[in-house]
Symmetry: C2
Subunit: 376 residues, 2 copies
Amino acid sequence: MIPPEITTPEVLIDVDILDRNIARMAAATQARGLRLRPHAKTHKVLEIAERQLAAGAVGLTVATIGEAEVFAKAGVRDIFIAYPLWVTAPQAARLRALAEANSITVGVDSAESASFMGRNLGAGAGRIAALVELDSGHHRSGVRPEDAAAVARAAADAGLDVAGVFTFPGHSYAPGMPLAAARQEDEALRRGADELAAAGFTVRTISGGSTPTASLDPADSFDPADSRDRATAATELRPGVYVFGDAQQFELGRCEPADIALTVASTVVSHHRTAAGEPGRFIIDAGSKVLGSDRPAWASGYGRLLDHPDARITALSEHHATVEWPQGLALPDRGELLRVVPNHVCLTMNLVDEVSLLREGALAGRWAVAARGKNS
Amino acid sequence: MIPPEITTPEVLIDVDILDRNIARMAAATQARGLRLRPHAKTHKVLEIAERQLAAGAVGLTVATIGEAEVFAKAGVRDIFIAYPLWVTAPQAARLRALAEANSITVGVDSAESASFMGRNLGAGAGRIAALVELDSGHHRSGVRPEDAAAVARAAADAGLDVAGVFTFPGHSYAPGMPLAAARQEDEALRRGADELAAAGFTVRTISGGSTPTASLDPADSFDPADSRDRATAATELRPGVYVFGDAQQFELGRCEPADIALTVASTVVSHHRTAAGEPGRFIIDAGSKVLGSDRPAWASGYGRLLDHPDARITALSEHHATVEWPQGLALPDRGELLRVVPNHVCLTMNLVDEVSLLREGALAGRWAVAARGKNS
């Protein structure tokens, strides 16, 4: 399954699976009457953004001004920087330059950051749209929905074009949580949008999404005795990881192995001698410097082996992963190539400058990770 | 303490502290009569390698052929790739090219990998030195010391120039473990070297080291009633992290805050509203894409704030860190700059293309992270 001419570790992207994932999310979002604005921090690749837009995405989501610059330069015209930016004078100059030829939206979650941003943007503020960030239960950034109107007013006073609200239900990343988080996300968006409307704002955008919740319709889980309107509050979704899938999504039940488009080709470099009756152990050459080291408490380990569901990655160093192998099974030979599914694929893409493409198991070119490392 | 013109997140290196750390390790190693071969995977910077060599290092350690190529191209002539390489034909060609003008040493921990490497190197094998990797208790790669001679014989049969043994006492990375691990490291090196000598090999190099153990003399802890030779078995040490220090080293008691040369400048971007009587919480813009997400179970969090020892980093996303602030203390204002000490500095350097230099608190240029991302 891995082209033998690969030098490991190497990120492989199965383009057929990638295209299927892009088409499936586009169709599902369209069927629900929602706009799709995929989060490009996951892939950071121009060719993938192009495919997402061709499949109907209205624009992109990014995390930083630097990512926005890379995609804007490549011709993406509608970009939301989904982050509560603290915009200094140099960053304001970059935002103004971006907004000259593009539709640019930023996040805001306090009156202080809105005022500071507005002051530094000066007359350019009116060209920048702002969405108020809501905390829908993740308890990271974002305000409570009942405080959204005050932030919106500060943003408007600062000269920004207030367009609506957004949230990221990051607490969906835990077993049993995706549906509950999708409901809380929906409630927060509905309430936040209502608050803005009641304060006199025209709410054009109600933006939600995360890969775990994007394919769930929160209305499905509502009590049928509840007589409120069942339609999803959101007008757009911002999933990112769905293009590739990863071990977290698999272990949360949000993707199947056949949906996983990105793996890291690795080589068995060492066997660890274990005592009789213990599971076997060996070392592969994909470590934290290519897989990333995110490891939620509920995960089975530091990633999965795509073709060996019973194996566990029990330890990770920079260039070694320790694989525990089912007891009694012969270890793979040294030199054997194995496909690792990272826990969190956004970190993997940020670690490599280029990726190798596969079509029907054969190498089919390379893509640059154009926005790699654009942290600011 | 942070130059206000910085756009965050940004890696800052205090060059005066860096130089002091380099000088101190060089002096300590020399005082013990040991050679110093610093691990350059930590920094990946040509200018830092140059400083280490100028301070007396005999050469560099690296983790991959790609890292060796970057440093060799810059003129470093003596490089040990401290990894049990599985050398395919394309990798053998790269090793042969490296060995034309440089002294190149590789790790080997099995007869199979030695034979495979020798076959692919062909007549070039004799120009490559090999050290047998020993497992001194970390239980990652490496063989038991009693199996070292068999691997050495296979390496010699494959045409490699067997030079000695090496180990990495990675189990030193836990509270209370550095001294115990240093003793096990010393025992493994002594036994492995003895096995090679008994099998007729001339042991030129006995290589140990990790930052937690490098400054410890294992002889200090031996039972004085034990009459064996007290000299350290190692002839050279390979610490890496000592140049910068990081939160792991600090929490293991292996460095002081004043020794920490690398921090990540970050901005307070959001305050999280908490209930009365709870510790305050806020969000900074340094996340896993610049700090790395290594977080051993014994760590206090996902890094430390250098100037706020009582703060804890309790959660990490790609572009957000959640900081828990001591109860009753006012939160830093939004927009305030804070210095984060990453848990594991080797990951941070591998995430950025350039770093900013500080001298006496002022910006003093930038260095490229020349070997960033060279995973193979």
